[in-house]
């Protein structure tokens, strides 16, 4: 059954004319049978802190970047454009493309020279700004309840712009050093979510949802003077978001 739904979703995305399902009763909420969907979401994301890592900037120079454990809250905005089809068992399927962008996530910590906590002589900070374009699918339950529950899944490509790295000595004897450079990394991004929608009029809905996402890899560029080319990186940047959406169905 699940395969059939998935296949129907895919076919819905590919074909032009909708094939009317045999089980369509008169819909009490009055949703259109097949429609164009546009959804604008806004909300906040929480991203987990960075990861502590030890790097060799030259074969002799060893530094540990100890990440602060704080999570930060970022504004997040998304635009989804897709189509919605009626599926069997009063399930609505949406498939489309989503564009999203967030504010800068702030990551910070202290630096241990020689990877030794005795020499924590610098603090550092930098930012990661994330945008993505993903293919998103959503299934909504049209069961004559006051709200429509839904689940979603998305995957696609994200762009993580790691930037504005700076380090500050914490003792007089430590001399300022060149910074890691800005770098944008293209990464595989995916997300899953669930939430509820409320139909306001024939064409307009509002809703709220929770989404867990992995923004993928982000990495700063090597600093001047490095011979190894290593720099701060994160393989995954996990985020949780609460998003409110305004949806239009045509």
């Amino acid at each position: 059954m699940n395969r059939k739904v998935l296949l129907a979703l895919l076919l819905a995305g590919l074909s032009e004319k909708p094939a009317v399902a045999s089980e369509t009763n008169i819909d009490p909420i009055g949703l259109l049978k097949s429609s164009f969907v546009a959804s604008l979401s806004g909300g906040a994301s929480w991203q987990n802190a960075g990861k502590t890592q030890t790097l060799n900037l030259t074969p002799d120079i060893l530094k540990t970047y100890v990440a602060n454990n704080s999570t930060t809250t970022l504004p997040n905005g998304q635009l989804f454009l897709g189509i919605q089809r009626v599926l069997p068992k009063h399930i609505l399927g949406q498939i489309g493309v989503e564009f999203a962008a967030t504010e800068n996530a702030n990551l910070s910590g202290v630096i241990w020279d020689d990877a030794d906590p005795q020499f924590d002589n610098y603090t550092y900070q930098y930012q990661v700004q994330h945008t993505h374009i993903v293919l998103k699918g959503k299934l909504l339950g049209d069961w004559s309840l006051p709200l429509l529950p839904w689940i979603s899944a998305a995957m696609g490509v994200g762009f993580n712009n790691a930037q504005s790295f700076m380090s500050t000595p914490t003792i007089f004897e430590a001399v300022s050093m060149p910074n890691f450079k800005d770098q944008t990394t293209t990464a595989f991004t995916y997300a899953i979510g669930l939430g509820v929608q409320k139909q306001l009029t024939k064409n307009w809905q509002i809703g709220v949802g929770f989404e867990f996402a992995d923004w993928g890899k982000s990495q700063l560029g090597a600093a001047d003077g490095e011979t190894t080319g290593q720099s701060l990186s994160l393989s995954h940047l996990y985020t949780q978001s609460v998003l409110f959406n305004l949806t239009y169905l045509a």
Partner: protein
């Protein structure tokens, strides 16, 4: 492995919460004084014990300092690249200060880096930092900034920067030793300005206070209200019309920065009695204006009768602006302007522009009899036999704007009697004729004449009456008013003057005494038709007006056949008369000045 990492991370959190004070990877323990003065011909020795505080070995190098060289031989002395093996191992960093090579004092360092990489460097603590003051006198380098608006960053010897935010004296923070050179340059210009340095380089022998930085605003743009002005002389005694009203040039700064020191010069000089003010415009803020007022005296800018008068040019500019070169002419009767001699002046126009008035051409368009031209042509030529006798409405000496004379109806009736094919080629509609002040408005009269003769070739007198009209334009060089449609002296818009524009009342023309006319206002142009050479018999000496010349005013008693002529005669016999349109008379066109 993961558990170990977890424990390590917990410990990390705990330890960082204990506010563990950081320790330098390698420390500098001074073995000698680290603050001292060194004379310019002397040397000094400074030593630090460099001790590795880390368990890891480090290979280190000192960052070079000008004037200080590292001594690398001797027991326990650090080599250029020296390796300190584990915690506690050390060597002695021996530095020799060479006074002769010091450009300025040293107040930082020494900085020692891992294999000379900028990514891991340490220096002594604040109390042990290297502080070398040159033993000989050091002098301050400074000077004066002028004209600054905003802030400029000056640089001395390529390293010492000084930000100056207002005009006045300045001094660089780093002194330079006696005998060394200094070189002051502008590192960053202020927004919208350019600063130039003079006396910026030299050798220090004493405090330098004469570095001169002059800042001027980047170009401002000046615009002028009009490019040329014509003014009347102030000579109401000569004629009430010559009121000599002051007129203005408005200069405007259209740029985004102030224009400084906006002044002007005049070439040639003003005629005596003419005043221009203000004497200069000074500083003009963006969008501000400066109004130059010219108040004429009774002397024109060029002599009347001078055929190539030189206008007065105002050369206006500021220190940081483009140059404007408007011109102006102060005119009186007989001044040559816009292609002719001025004989009428209207000084009541707006003072933001020029006077208006009337000029007469410098030469004849047709000469007096036996040369000359007919008043109206049938299209075959310009001789008396080619005359076309037609009534042109609205242009006789009684016609006014309120009352057209001859009337359109009379003109049309005469036309229909003269010509046979008027059903195919009717008289031009009444809307195409104006009701003119026939005595004084030659431009209007000439327009009415052109209306008929531009529409038809009349063929008057060809074959038997009534004659057959042909459509099309009568050749303009065949009749008096047509000659004035040409471009003369580079100007167009000429017309055959009305009778009262040519001379005072005579023979019943009814000219008013206050009308400015060629005879009254240009006596020096009037010649003697009975002289041996009438054309050179006037005070101007050439192209004199002498004899009979056509006007554009028809004669009311017999408008079809007769029109007014002016007889110019300097020997006292200028009169106005009427004669047949077939007569050959001279033509001298007039034109209204374009203010």
């Amino acid at each position: 492995m993961k558990i170990k990492l977890l424990i390590a991370q917990v410990l990390i959190i705990l330890m960082s919460n204990l506010a563990y004070a950081g320790t330098p990877l390698w420390t500098f323990t001074p073995l000698t004084a680290t603050t001292l003065s060194v004379p310019s011909n002397g040397t000094a020795m400074i030593q630090y014990q460099i001790t590795n505080q880390s368990a890891r070995p480090h290979s280190l190098m000192m960052k070079p300092i000008t004037g200080i060289s590292q001594i690398t031989f001797g027991p326990g002395v650090c080599d250029t690249l020296f390796t300190l093996q584990g915690k506690g191992s050390s060597c002695t960093l021996s530095l020799q200060v060479i006074g002769k090579q010091l450009i300025h004092s040293v107040i930082d360092g020494p900085i020692v880096c891992d294999r000379n990489s900028p990514l891991q460097c340490y220096k002594p603590s604040a109390s042990n930092i290297l502080t070398i003051r040159a033993g000989v006198n050091e002098y301050a380098i400074g000077g004066i900034v002028s004209g600054l608006s905003g802030s400029v960053v000056l640089q001395n010897n390529g390293a010492d920067n000084k930000t100056v935010t207002s005009s006045g004296a300045f001094t660089f923070s780093t002194p330079v030793m006696q005998g060394k050179t200094y070189a002051v340059t502008v590192l960053t210009q202020p927004a919208g300005q350019t600063c130039t340095v003079t006396n910026g380089a030299g050798t220090v022998t004493n405090n330098v206070t004469n570095v001169n930085v002059t800042c001027v605003s980047n170009a401002a743009t000046l615009a002028i209200s009009v490019s040329t002005l014509a003014l009347s002389v102030n000579d109401t005694g000569l004629n009430p019309a010559l009121t000599g009203n002051p007129r203005i040039f408005t200069i405007r700064n259209t740029g985004s920065v102030s224009a400084t020191n906006v002044t002007y010069s005049l070439s040639p000089a003003l005629p005596s009695g003419t005043i221009i003010s203000p004497a200069s415009c000074g500083t003009m803020a963006p969008s501000s204006t400066c109004i130059l007022t010219i108040t004429p005296g009774n002397i024109p800018s060029a002599a009347p009768g001078d055929i190539n008068p030189i206008p007065i040019t105002l050369n206006i500019s500021g220190d940081n602006t483009n140059t404007l070169t408007p011109t102006f002419n102060i005119l009186t009767y007989g001044s040559v302007y816009q292609g002719g001699y001025v004989y009428a002046v209207n000084d009541s126009t707006s003072n933001m522009g020029s006077i208006s008035g009337t000029v007469v051409t410098l030469t004849d368009q047709a000469s007096r009899f036996p040369s000359g031209i007919i008043w109206g042509s049938n299209g075959a030529g310009s001789a008396s036999a080619d005359v076309s006798l037609d009534v042109i409405p609205g242009i006789d000496e009684f016609s006014t704007t309120g009352f057209s004379s001859p009337t359109y109806a009379n003109a049309q009736t005469a036309f229909n009697i003269n010509y046979a094919n008027t059903s195919t080629y009717p008289f031009p509609p009444s809307s195409s004729f104006l009701s003119c002040d026939g005595r004084t408005d030659g431009a209007c009269n000439s327009a009415n004449i052109a209306t008929l003769y531009n529409m038809y070739v009349t063929n008057y007198g060809i074959g038997s009456s009534p004659y057959n009209l042909s459509p099309g334009q009568t050749n303009v060089s065949y009749y008096a008013a047509g000659l004035c449609t040409a471009v003369i002296s580079g100007y167009s818009g000429w017309y055959l003057p009305a009778i009262c524009e040519m001379g005072p009342n005579s023979g019943g023309s009814g000219c008013s005494g206050s009308t400015q006319s060629i005879i009254n206002q240009l006596p020096d142009l009037i010649g003697d038709p009975n002289a041996g050479s009438p054309s050179t018999s006037c005070v101007y000496g050439a192209n004199c007006l002498a004899g009979y010349y056509w006007s554009s005013t028809e004669t009311s008693s017999f408008p079809q056949n007769i029109a007014w002529v002016q007889y110019f005669d300097s020997s006292g016999g200028s009169v106005q008369n009427s004669t047949t349109k077939a007569a050959l008379a001279g033509v001298r066109c007039s034109r209204a000045l374009v203010p």
